[in-house]
Amino acid sequence: MRDVPPNPSTSLADRNLAASSSSRRRQLLVALAATALAACVPLGVSDVYAMNVMILTLMYLALSQSWNVLGGYCGQISLGHAIYFGIGAYATVIVYLKGGISPWIGMVVGGVFASWIALALGYFCFRLAGHYYTIATIVIAEAALLLVLNWEWAGAALGLQLPFGPDSWATLQFGRNKLPYFYFVLALSLLTWLIAWWIEGARWGYWWRAVKDDAEAAASLGVSIFDSKMAASAISAFFTAVAGGFYALFVSYIDPQSVFGFQISLLITLPAVLGGIGTLWGPAVGAVLLIPLGELTRSYIGGSGSGTHLIVYGALIVVISLLRPEGLVSLFRSSKPARGAQA
């Protein structure tokens, strides 16, 4: 992972700080309009595959936005968010399979549990600075993967499968109909965006960005660094776990490798990194570009066995990272100062 250059992010934060309440209202309106527009897409698209791609895109948008709360706003780069994702997925399925409790409750249970875990881990890990924290998150997520792989009661390596039932909103199980999943995950994406939006304007948000920019200076001004990190971490873990629960219901089968694996941590992080860390729209832009690209290249050029699609996918990420190290949203910002000056 490359380092985030301190200067651009500081200036971005400054700009955010300076953003007037009217600009915040405009952001909110844009988000609501985008959500409303997205909600209309299924009216014209009935294809199951296209729906799958959109659902995945929105899921990673929500995940990456959740990650952004901790990684972007508070500056604590985690490469182990799969642990929260996996906890959410397993909690949802276990609560339903073993307890007969609605997966809706299961998702919340998973979220709360993941938050506790995040606080417990944070208690130790937030004493580590910078890269050491990142390394610790990787190691802890890998340890969680190993634990679940050997946990017989939770299916061990075999994983857990949701039973075959009739279509129902109560269990969020739908055989062929993808619409319910789409609207659920669209709502979740909006919710995570709203959280990020709220943070940008709230006292916590200012604290977190201060922690990110210069922890010692922030501490000298009375910002509680440790509490800031803990709060960001708990919120981030909660929504990551809810999305994990959604994933389990959507795929209806989970095994340790597919929910606790390192590739999940990466896929959660990538959209935000690509789109722009610590920005409101970065995760959305990143997810909308990255996830369909990965899916479409695999589906339409992946069957050949030549691996071309991964080369295309990888090359694109490299090109974007080189041209726009601050993330794709900076494309839109380049024209912003002029407008800002007028306002």
Partner: protein, 418 residues
């Protein structure tokens, strides 16, 4: 005002959206019977997918073109009951990820309107694909995914012509009994050595149960992390326990590492019995060379069966022309899976899922019409073919040969190794 980059981004996203809406590539005449094939074509299991493609293309060629081979559908061109319709395979890549497997299966069914699904090597993906097949009411033939958990879910559209791991483990313990009787004083103790994904876990569970039933002492039970960069401590532990037989369950890279580490640490047990997997892969055999000598593997297919299955040589020649290698346990099962599926579609005289399901259920193919050492192909209510006799084969002189049961053996068993 749009600048150059804005324009670039918006046109790129427009291209993506239009690609999402466009129909699948390669449309051709409506007569073709399309079959969706889902394998890992990238990632750690990619070689399996590439080999599977050679095997399935060979099978499709035998079905679609006239061949003088004694197999169902080989003689004529295409599916005779469907007006000579050709079988067309539509490939998809699941990258060993259940979610991608599900998405690809749904795409093949809804966009490509495939008549049936075939795959997937990874049992975790097979679990998800079998659900999709059930939802859309079309058959899924699991060619080589061998987890016993797959056929016990009460699914109507799941079919597995090959054996599942439990049948293999039973055969392995029957073989151990044979060794104990024929070579007294050997085979009393075993060590289990297995990787920690579904494959290894499932296998070890059954092996532990069978060992207890047959009073074979398990002196070590070692589970290792799949794709681990080193197996030194695990092999060291094996060496210290000094079992007569190691029962190994590994994929290719682990198997290579395991054999190399044993050589480095100077440990050689009386016998190594492997659960197929990586130990029969050409990549393994070329990587460890002569150090593979003496390794025994269970199998549902051995090349030296040619004397008993005349069609095998012709099929192997065709396969070798495409792939440059001989058929192995995986590719042979993949080949047979397509022949069995196409035969059912032909008998169903229809490409509707429920019709093909009924025809598959009525399948009763004698072993002589296959290239496998199976008695016949006949599916139970659970979709599992139960008329299968696994065999044991041993590596030596550059190839695996059948050593047990003795009636099928083409080379005497070399035992013990030390």
């Amino acid at each position: 005002m749009l600048n150059r980059r804005d324009l670039l981004v918006s046109s790129a996203s427009a291209a993506l959206i239009s690609a999402a809406g466009s129909p699948a590539f390669g449309q051709s005449s409506v007569e073709d019977v399309k079959i969706g094939v889902i394998y890992p074509f990238t990632g750690s299991g990619a070689q399996v997918g590439v080999d599977a493609r050679f095997a399935l293309d060979t099978a499709a060629d035998i079905i679609n073109e006239a061949h003088d081979i004694d197999l169902p559908l080989a003689k004529g061109k295409g599916l005779s009951n469907l007006g000579g319709a050709k079988v067309r395979l539509v490939y998809a890549d699941h990258q060993a990820d259940p979610q991608k497997g599900r998405s690809e299966a749904e795409r093949l069914v809804t966009q490509d309107s495939v008549a049936a699904l075939l795959g997937t090597y990874y049992s975790s993906v097979a679990a998800v694909v079998s659900q999709v097949a059930e939802r859309y009411q079309l058959p899924f033939v699991a060619a080589e995914s061998s987890s016993p958990s797959l056929h016990v879910k009460g699914l109507k559209y799941f079919f597995r012509p090959g054996p599942h791991d439990e049948m293999y483990s039973i055969a392995m313990f029957d073989f151990i009994k044979h060794v104990q009787q024929k070579f007294p004083g050997t085979g009393a103790t075993v060590a289990l050595f297995y990787e920690d994904t579904l494959f290894g876990n499932d296998t070890s569970k059954v092996q532990k149960r069978l060992a207890e039933e047959q009073k074979v002492e398990v002196v070590a039970d070692i589970k290792y992390r799949a794709n681990s960069p080193s197996l030194s401590s695990e092999v060291q532990l094996l060496k210290s326990k000094n079992p007569d037989i190691i029962l190994a369950t590994s994929y290719t890279t682990d198997a290579i590492l395991f054999v190399r580490t044993m050589r480095e640490l100077g440990f050689k047990p009386k016998g190594i019995i492997s659960q197929n997997g990586g130990f029969i892969e050409p990549a393994f055999l070329s990587a460890v060379g002569e150090h593979a000598n003496g390794i025994i593997s269970r199998a549902s297919f051995v090349l030296d069966l040619a004397t008993k299955r005349p069609s095998l040589k012709a099929v192997n020649d065709l396969f070798k022309k495409r792939s440059g290698k001989d058929l192995n346990d995986n590719t042979a099962r993949e080949f047979m899976a397509l022949i069995i599926l196409a035969d059912a579609i032909n008998r169903a005289k229809s490409i509707k899922g429920p019709d093909i399901e009924a025809a598959l259920r009525a399948t009763d193919m004698p072993g002589a019409s296959t290239i496998m050492p199976w008695d016949r192909v006949k599916f139970g209510a659970d979709g599992q073919n139960s008329s299968i006799k696994p065999v044991m084969m041993q590596y030596g002189d550059g190839e695996y040969r059948t050593v047990w049961p003795e009636a099928l053996a083409t080379r005497p068993l070399k035992w013990p190794l030390t």
